[in-house]
Every structure is written in C-alpha cells, then in structure tokens.
C-alpha cells in the first residue's frame, strides 16, 4: 500500500521527518494493490442495511452440528406467501413447509442441500480448486415443469483483479471483471446474454472504499443506474443510502437505512421513497439462541407484513 520510506532519514529534524512520512504514505505502490471484492458483492454493505430478509409469519431454524464439518438443519415456516400478480392487489396464500438441510463445510469444499416438503430442492456447491480458481454452482429443482434452474460460476482471482464467468440454464451467459485501480478505488465491467429472452447487456461499476465509508455506483445497458453510499459512523452503527433509477422505465427509488450492531442484538431499519419502511431485529437471548422480529409496512399498497422467528444453533 504505502511505499517504503527511503533510508538515511533518521537524523532529519521533527517536522521535516513528519512531512517525509506523510509523503511516503501518499506515494502508493501500484504494484501491490489489494484484491477487490467480488463483483456481485459490490453493494454488499448497502444491501445489508437496506434489504434485510423480512418475512411474514413464523420461522424456526434449528441447526445441529454432527461433526466439525458436517451439520444438519431443520426449518419450519408457516405464513402467507405473496403470489406475483399483475394487478395492484397483493394476493397472499397461506403456506407452511418444513425444510431439511445438510451442510458439509471444508476449507476447500462447501456443499449445502435443502429439501422442502413442497417438493423443491436447493443445492449449492462451492469448490476451491486452487488458491485462485474456484467453482460455484447452485441449482433449484421443482416439481413444476420449466421452473427448475441452475447456474455455474467460475471465478479466477488474480493479484489485484477478479474475473468471473457465469453459465446458467436457459442459455444464460455472463462475465464480469473487477480491477483495483488505487488502494481505495476499484472499477468493474460485466456483460451478459440470455438466450431465452434474447437480451444482452453490458454494465460498468465503480467502488470507492475507505475505513469510514463505501461508495459504489453501477450502470447497466438494461437501463439501471444504482448508486449507494454507506457511512460507518462508529463501530456499532452504520448508515446507508441508496438510489436506483431505471432510465428506460423512468422508475426512481431512494432509500435510507441504518444498521446497529450491539452486543445483544442487531437492528436494521430502512425507509423508502415508495412509502415502504422495514425493520429487522435479531436478538440474542442466550448462547446460540436468537430471536428474530421482522416488520415491513408498505403505506402505498397498504400491505403489512410482520414476522417472528427463532434460530437455534
């Protein structure tokens, strides 16, 4: 990161040595830039505050470790699920399912499988072939025809860049590349092509990160412009704001949120320009026992979703 201080400066007077030290810090070593974060995690800090996983109903998760590497999980969910509908009315159907899952976690290999009682199967694989190359795959299989999909990613991590190739079913191809340009700034580009809908697009992104803040921006040829800014106010509190604009459709959304990480709990809240506010609270009742409360109020659509849950292990 900082270049080396030239030798032989030990006998210079105080203020001159301070000036030399700051000058050495400013002179960045462009051969030793840090490795950037993966492209899909560009807006990671902002999404953590602004898109908490709110749910409606009861959620219960139990994870039991059988081994150091192997664990089983049982999960129950009861509550209304929203059906995607064209009209402004939200249609909710009460559903309940039990999900059984198995995880195998190794330093190089991670396998996660989940089976639900409504006939769906989720599987995820992450395999680090070498230090630099890793393969990720995920699949979702259902009973309904034409609703199953799968995707494979090949990631190559270089010294100060990352590149990714993505292949999905329904002939979806995507590639992305992110490069560190200075110790704080990294630039990225991506292209994708779908065979099913015959769409292709190209996008650019930039991310500027310091200890106290992260600013990221992304533009895509599908008409999406997304900007986000996260300020870390203290080690417990961070505030985030986000602006999304689709210049083809003319749809604008801005949102502001906070993320408080306290010792006993983690509280996230956000408010939107669409009149939607959400809050998500995870409270640690005991060792390994977490109590979750989730609330989402949409004033425009008059849709109110409240959920509670318990996570064990």
């Amino acid at each position: 990161m900082a270049g080396l201080v030239p030798p032989g400066t030990t006998t210079i007077p105080a203020d001159a040595s301070k000036a030399a030290h700051t000058k050495a810090e400013e002179k960045t070593d462009y051969m030793n830039l840090p490795c950037p974060i993966p492209f899909e995690e560009l807006h990671r800090e902002a999404l953590m505050s602004l898109k908490p996983e709110t749910f409606e109903g009861l959620r219960f998760d139990f994870t039991k470790g059988l081994n150091q590497k192997f664990s089983l999980s049982h999960s129950v969910f009861m509550g209304p699920t929203e059906l995607p509908s064209q009209s402004a009315e939200t249609i909710k159907i009460p559903t309940a399912h039990y999900e059984f899952g198995a995880n195998f976690i190794d330093p190089n290999l991670m396998l996660i499988g989940r089976m639900l009682t409504d006939g769906r199967l989720n599987a995820r694989v992450k395999w680090d072939l070498t230090d630099n190359l890793s393969v990720k795959a995920n699949a979702q299989l259902t009973n309904e025809p034409h609703m199953s999909h799968g995707m494979v990613n090949f990631d190559y991590k270089g010294k100060d860049y990352r590149s990714q190739l993505q292949i999905g079913n329904g002939s979806l191809f995507g590639a992305s590349y992110i490069q560190s340009v200075t110790p704080h700034l990294s630039l990225a580009g991506e292209i994708f092509w779908t065979g099913q809908h015959l769409k292709s697009g190209i996008g650019y992104a930039a991310r500027y990160e310091t200890d106290k803040m992260v600013a990221a921006g992304q533009v895509a040829s599908t008409g999406m412009v997304a900007l986000s800014y996260v300020q870390k106010v203290s080690e417990k509190v961070s505030l985030a704001s986000d602006f999304m604009y689709n210049y083809m459709i003319g749809d604008v959304t801005a949102s502001v949120g906070y993320d408080y990480i306290l010792r006993q709990c983690r509280l996230r809240g956000k408010i939107d320009s669409n009149g939607c506010t959400a809050a998500y609270l995870e409270e640690r009742l005991n060792m390994g026992l977490n109590f979750i409360l989730s609330a989402e109020i949409d004033h425009k659509k008059k849709d109110y979703k409240f959920g509670f849950g318990l996570t064990v292990g």
Binding site: L262, R263, A279, I297
Partner: protein, 101 residues
C-alpha cells in the same frame, strides 16, 4: 291575515309585491348577496378544514406507524445496551478496586 296567508302559500320565489312585510324582511336578509357570499365562504372554509384534517390525520398515521417500527426498537435496544454497560462498569469497579492479597 289572509294577506299573510296568501304570501306564505305562494312559497319561495314569490315576487316582492305578493309577499307580506315579514316574509319580505326575512327574504331581504336571507337572499341578500352578503349572506350568500358568507354561506359560500363558510362552505369553502369547511371543505378546506376537512381536507386539512384528513391529510393531517393521514400524515400523523404515517409518521406514527413509521416511528413505531423504526425508532421504538432502537430506543429499547439502546437502553438495554446502556444498562448492560452500567452493570459491567459497576462489576469492574467492584472487582477491580480491592487489592489482591
């Protein structure tokens, strides 16, 4: 008397010549342009006040429920954190001050 009865039977819209003195006086007060203007102004004021109350009510509902969802859990959790900190400080003072024997 029949003179008054005649005026009253004719009802509204009767011309001034056929009405009695009292009806003429009351019509002079109630049909004058000043009372009409006052009535219109009162109607407008009532309409505007109703709309204002309505939107204030809606804004109060919006602000109230948003405050309840976003701010109340935050206050509760920060209070608990503060209590925990005070407890820890107390325990530290209790355990930290007596010298080791």
């Amino acid at each position: 008397m029949s003179f008054f009865g005649q005026g009253k039977k004719r009802g509204f819209g009767a011309s001034d010549d056929d009405m009695g003195i009292i009806t003429r006086l009351s019509h002079a007060v109630s049909d004058s342009p000043i009372t009409n203007a006052t009535k219109r102004a009162a109607n407008d004021a009532a309409y505007v006040t109703k709309k204002l109350l309505n939107s204030t009510g809606k804004a109060a509902w919006f602000a109230g429920t948003t405050f309840l969802i976003l701010v109340v859990p935050l206050i509760i959790e920060m209070d608990r954190e503060q209590q925990l900190n005070e407890l820890e400080l107390q325990q530290q003072n209790l355990l930290g001050s007596p010298p080791a024997k």
